[in-house]
Symmetry: C2
Subunit: 346 residues, 2 copies
């Protein structure tokens, strides 16, 4: 299956089997120079691209093929969720090493298609190539770039900018679970890597599309982002985009079972949603079945002294005894020795 034509045929066959439920907007899919999409009336299209590289975003010896396929798609779906967009079409470009046989690639497509079907996302196109060998004939590295196209009523997409001073800060689900599972994989502890065995926040994260759609429709949220790089980094993005500061209550954080506080604050890839809402807004305890927790609030920058620590720090963490400690993106100043930086991807 390493001829490009065969690869494309394998993908086309799987896409065709997905059935007609998917692809509401797609007028022309795989097989011409471009795909054609007819946008809905009064709608905007939300478009996001995510690069997945072997050795950076997954490891061949840790991640089953199904998980790689699932995660490639989940990243883009989570970006759509954070804007309240409905997924419409996906494009998959892959560089496949010759050594990743048909069986691996079928596993990859299994993981992809299962998640795609759950959310009605049709595969509309892409590109394929054999991954080039390294010097000395070393095997090539798997790479995938995934494009997701979603639709959202014009002017209604949730954005990072839009939070106001006084807004309450919420997260869906639990934090740090993905980092905790990754730690277990890294320690080669006996992790059951099969999808159905148990919850797998790292191997098989669930993008919060229903929650995002509900937040968009209800106009509850003033700003939103998905937690792909970790709470400290993604909340900093919201603070920067909205030109605000934030205070997070350590006691209020919903920490995933088995996760540490550090993982909850800085571990990436939970793909939960972080959003803000006006203090008077009635945010239910669950949205579309997913628990929602208030974890802090947004503060104005005006007249406010800079948070001590690093220049880009816009968050303070309030710990149990009322003390506040700076929470810079990707690292925790209070426990600086343990902190790490710049491990995330955007």
């Amino acid at each position: 299956m390493h001829n490009e034509r065969e690869l494309i045929r394998a993908i086309q066959a799987r896409a065709a089997r997905q059935g007609s439920a998917a692809g509401r907007l797609i007028k022309l899919a795989i097989g011409d120079d471009c795909a054609l999409l007819r946008p809905p009336r009064g709608g905007e299209l939300a478009i996001t691209t995510d690069l997945t590289l072997e050795g950076v975003h997954f490891r061949h010896d840790w991640h089953p093929a199904e998980s790689v396929g699932h995660r490639c798609l989940a990243r883009g779906l989570s970006d759509l969720a954070s804007m309240g967009a409905r997924p419409e079409a996906a494009f998959l470009s892959i560089a496949l090493p010759r050594e990743f046989g048909g069986r691996w690639f079928n596993g990859f497509l299994d993981g992809w298609m299962r998640l795609a079907q759950a959310h009605g996302v049709a595969l509309a196109g892409g590109d394929t190539a054999e991954a080039p060998r390294g010097r000395g004939g070393r095997r090539g590295i798997f790479a995938a770039d995934v494009v997701l196209v979603g639709s959202v009523p014009a002017g209604k997409a949730l954005r990072r900018a839009g939070a106001r001073a006084g807004d309450i800060l919420y997260v869906t689900g639990a934090l740090g679970g993905a980092a905790a599972e990754l730690r277990a994989l890294a320690m080669k502890s006996t992790v059951n890597r099969k999808r159905d065995a148990e919850k797998h926040p790292h191997l098989y994260p669930e993008p919060r599309l229903k929650v995002g759609a509900r937040l968009m429709r209800s106009r509850l949220a003033t700003a939103a982002i998905d937690l792909s790089d970790g709470l400290s980094t993604d909340l900093t993005h919201v603070c920067e985009a909205s030109n605000l500061y934030a205070i997070v209550e350590q006691e209020a954080l919903p920490i995933a079972p088995g996760a540490t506080l550090h993982e909850a604050l800085h571990g990436g890839e939970d793909y939960e949603l972080l959003f803000t809402a006006r203090p008077q807004a009635k945010v239910p305890a669950k949205l579309s079945g997913v628990p929602v927790h208030a974890i802090g609030r947004m503060l104005t920058c005006v007249g406010r002294r800079r948070i001590p620590g690093s220049a880009d720090c816009r968050i303070e963490l309030r710990v149990e005894d009322g003390r506040r400690t700076p929470l810079p993106p990707g690292g925790w100043e209070h426990f600086r020795k343990k902190g790490k930086r710049g491990s995330g991807s955007t």
Copy 2:
């Protein structure tokens, strides 16, 4: 410049300098979870993705950085041209090896931005990562995935399917020039690699956007494709999509200066347009300043004997003395020993 944040900033700064002429449909570009596009009324969006891999689509020692940037974008623009779509937005995902310094990446952006400005294409988003090192610490491989979004009036996009028996076959420009220049690069002959020095059909191809738009508006073309994989392969795609055969007149082929007949028939990446029109259609000798040549015609499959040669052969080449010889995709049966197969990318 190898921190992801710096990379993104460099790209954003360049995109911002492009000015407001670009990005008619873009409501929100780089800096949120998704870009937002507001599609034109009564329009469809054409979307294409193209993967560019070092060692497969270019060589670091042959191609200047400007050429790599130009070619990454030109491939997608040519796909839009072949459907008659107007380019609206581009997304660039790159895996950059640490060894490709800021200077190389600036050259890449120079090549990209120059072509983008010429065609009013705004950079709306993308993703960045450092290319993972190979085993033994070997440097990573550059990879880019480029997404182009174009607009076209609903139902009016040119497609591969649509040619009818009796239609005349046309190509724009000249054929084989890109393969000839690549041969010169491979032979390390003294090729001036600077963009402005002379014509560079391989290093700096010109996507035929104006011609495509004109063909779409005028309804002259019954089918169209861009010549990315070579005449024999791309014409086979049109034949398959339209369920027809084709005859090509060798004498009518516009062969680029310095190119061989073999390069004109099978050399890829010319990014000219191949299209069909009804025999009574008045196709001018030039479209938007680009010469157009009739090179053959389309024939019905019904009752027609299979062209001898290989099973997937749908084209016959008529040579000077009136003899016909099968022209399978990517290889020339008549000179089988010289022919090569499967070198193209889709």
